[in-house]
Symmetry: C2
Amino acid sequence: VQARPTIGVDVGGTKCLGVAADAEGRVLAEHRLATPDDGAGLIESIAAVVHELGRAVGDVAGVGVGVPGLVDGTGALRFTPNLPGIRELSVGALLGERFGDVPLHVDNDATCAGWAEATLGAAAGKRHVLLATLGTGIGGGLVADGRLLRGANGFAGEIGHIVVDPSGPPCPCGQRGCWERFASGSALARFADEVIGEDQTSRMLELAGGRRADLRGEHVTRAAAEGDPIALGLMDRFGWWLALGLANLANILDPECIVIGGGLIESGGVILEPTRRAFHELVEGAEHRPDIPIVAAALGERAGAIGAALLARPTGASPM
Amino acid sequence: VQARPTIGVDVGGTKCLGVAADAEGRVLAEHRLATPDDGAGLIESIAAVVHELGRAVGDVAGVGVGVPGLVDGTGALRFTPNLPGIRELSVGALLGERFGDVPLHVDNDATCAGWAEATLGAAAGKRHVLLATLGTGIGGGLVADGRLLRGANGFAGEIGHIVVDPSGPPCPCGQRGCWERFASGSALARFADEVIGEDQTSRMLELAGGRRADLRGEHVTRAAAEGDPIALGLMDRFGWWLALGLANLANILDPECIVIGGGLIESGGVILEPTRRAFHELVEGAEHRPDIPIVAAALGERAGAIGAALLARPTGASPM
């Protein structure tokens, strides 16, 4: 007898990406919708993704949902800096009404991605894993001694909001100089916007369709991968900031492996090379400790959805 | 039958503090020596403290030693920024030769202190605990889900070396702007030295015996406790930086309780009040999460030595 599939939905700053997956995390179907900017719309969109996937695969054994920010044990999204206007949203209760008796698991999005990468992705078999997803912000999924590190309320892993420069730019969370202001996809877009200035010949600008307002981090990594010297210079700066936060986290957590996820990592090499160089300079006692590999997520942008599907399995992927 | 006592020695930047303790962590004897500045001298001093305590209490069941920095599973001190000139010191092997068949456990000093505070100190009964010890540097002891968070190599908890201002002062670890440059005992002494300048009437200077070179953090906290307005102003600045790093760590780890240890905390209130105020402004989503109490270590400066003694018990205090 084949175990029934589960559905996982990953809510990002721009899209809700859902998959139906089997017990080994193999993707059977995928569906995505834009992320709405209000709570009621978000619940509708998640439900629509789930229903579409349910239609594709039939009977499911559970539904998992990953949302960014502080998610408590009841499945409530308490605070989420990168979905402005959404807070104190009872995701678990509101979705639960719609799914009848199908078990529902609501979790932090990067926690889901970290679990997927640590069990069947780039860090499969490793017991101490740090996952950082670079998107609108930076999410963190932490695995310590083979188990998810959740903290007292399930709020652990908010790594994007470690302050690394108190005089840095303001962050939607209310602080200044959070790490994600320097090392997320939106940070890279900001760096690019600054250096492009009035330069109409920029390759990065061309990739963004000529509109500075449409610049995204991916345009920079793509231009860098093509060899654009200005984009390559930005990657050095970006890699240094990325490495700074990773070194902070490595000093605290001592992982055996660091996995970088999120849309930006599709152009892996241009990000990872400068990051690895800078990390070696920044982590405490680099010459006196084993090297910590920094690798790209193996499950790509689907990591969060796959992890949500794994954590939704009734038999449990022993999440705690 | 009474279980035999164990001995614990905590190696700090200035002193080696040892205790003999019973199975409940009650202190039966105490001895201290200055911390020498070379590896051979350090081994001699630890051994001397252990022998003195052994003479006091007789047969012991084990010896635990806490040293600052990166301590691996073999008991080697790989790297320790605040004991200049000491690195790659095989503490376990060198001490083991001297103690015959008495079991020896070598660990990070703040890990020991964190274990003591989480099992029988200020966080007794709590399952998610962050301990920060403020001394020459800042040490970290992390307890997650009731177990010590050690990481892949036992190097977890190097919280003093999270960079919080990349343009900040140089740190002995090789970076700039590490948290311990702003929130340790030596940081507070530096702040005081800056504001005192040529002011010969400073109460802080008076407490330091009139010699700026002898200024320590404790002189500032003592002057602040007396009501000295300049010292009180420094405590606001110091508390803000202390809270900044604690908020970073709370965002990552989601502890239910934060314990502040180290010699500086003897004047608890003058540190804790400004720190609590700033922490509430700095932690992510303060209005949307349970309050995280910030409290003084209950075991005072002995926490590390008591923790080392507990971790040295053969039956084990389930350290992992």
